[in-house]
Assembly symmetry: C2
Homo-oligomer: 161 residues x 2
DNA sequence: TGAATTAATTTAACATGTTAAGTATACTTC
DNA sequence: GAAGTATACTTAACATGTTAAATTAATTCA
């Protein structure tokens, strides 16, 4: 007994059971990633590893909590990624003299070299997307996403309802 | 040597190395999922399992390829999820008499019962988000996401550049 | 100051994401 | 109608997502 067999009209962006917001966000993200993933892969990186490298290129010597926020990764994922990047000597760990619980991280020379190789390739893909989708719409999308995040963003642990 | 230490101005939605489009899409998605995930978990479901159940509630007796498209899951993930849902007798598999390579899937009575319990809870959260973010903006976001997907969407396997 | 609590990170366990390779069935074409 | 090709999954291997629990160091406060 199918609940809904007819395709939605074209002018009807309202969600139905086939088009939830999380899935539409996922689809848009996947469209973008289908461009970036092969490029990153050609450099031997995953998307998440690149996010960590990019964060460290902008803010060196930050601890894991700060890095997690900036790369938008959960702590357990970040732990594994940092262990891997350390093993490949892309990232170096140092202990924080003020707080023995923390480690602070930085790109190695090899890490900075990778960042400088991948950065331009990433730029080129952004420019391509910007041209295909249009700068105005891209900025509108950025704005709406930021507004949505601000309105609906996850509650931090210490501000539970 | 931090490349960029100053926060971007508020009126500057342009991407920088800290704010890539895939990450902004991920953040928005995560904001939404932070509402849905606990609800789904209280029903013993993951987001992806719920996507499969929802797709089968709308279109019964479809094969795995069709199901993959509608739930936006990759084939290997779908294989595992279907095996799990079969084991729990939420989904039933039948072989396609026309093509022995295919299986067709349908919700069991238990599966339909779950769908009818979870559906309203999901609805309630959508309404809540709609109220907090605003219907007009939500529709604008849906439209932009659809346009973005259409403009940048991944190429199918048989239409590679 | 020492017990209790909090914070930062890590580990564990299981589910999914991603790519490549494998398997079985259908199709095509000579 | 047999060989070659394409299709529809499925399995494999490794990386990440998600939640809970464990570990160790800092902090609080009785």
């Amino acid at each position: 007994m199918p609940i809904e067999q007819k395709a939605a009209a074209k002018e009807e962006p309202i969600r139905d059971f086939q088009h939830s917001l999380p899935m539409e966000l996922l689809k848009a993200r996947e469209a973008a990633m289908s461009r970036f993933r092969p490029m990153l892969r050609s450099h031997g990186l995953t998307e998440q590893q690149w996010r960590v490298i990019r964060a460290l290129a902008a803010f060196d010597n930050i601890d894991a909590s700060e890095l997690a926020k900036r790369s938008f990764l959960l702590a357990p994922s970040l732990t594994r990624i940092l262990q891997y990047l350390e093993k490949l000597q892309i990232v170096a760990r140092a202990s924080d003299s003020q707080d023995q619980r923390r480690s602070v991280f930085a790109l190695t020379k090899k890490g900075r070299s990778i960042f400088e190789k991948v950065g331009p390739d990433s730029e080129a893909l952004y420019i391509q997307i910007e041209q295909e989708f249009g700068l105005a719409k891209l900025e509108a999308l950025y704005s709406l996403l930021a507004e949505f995040y601000a309105a609906v963003r996850p509650l931090a642990v210490n501000e539970k309802s």
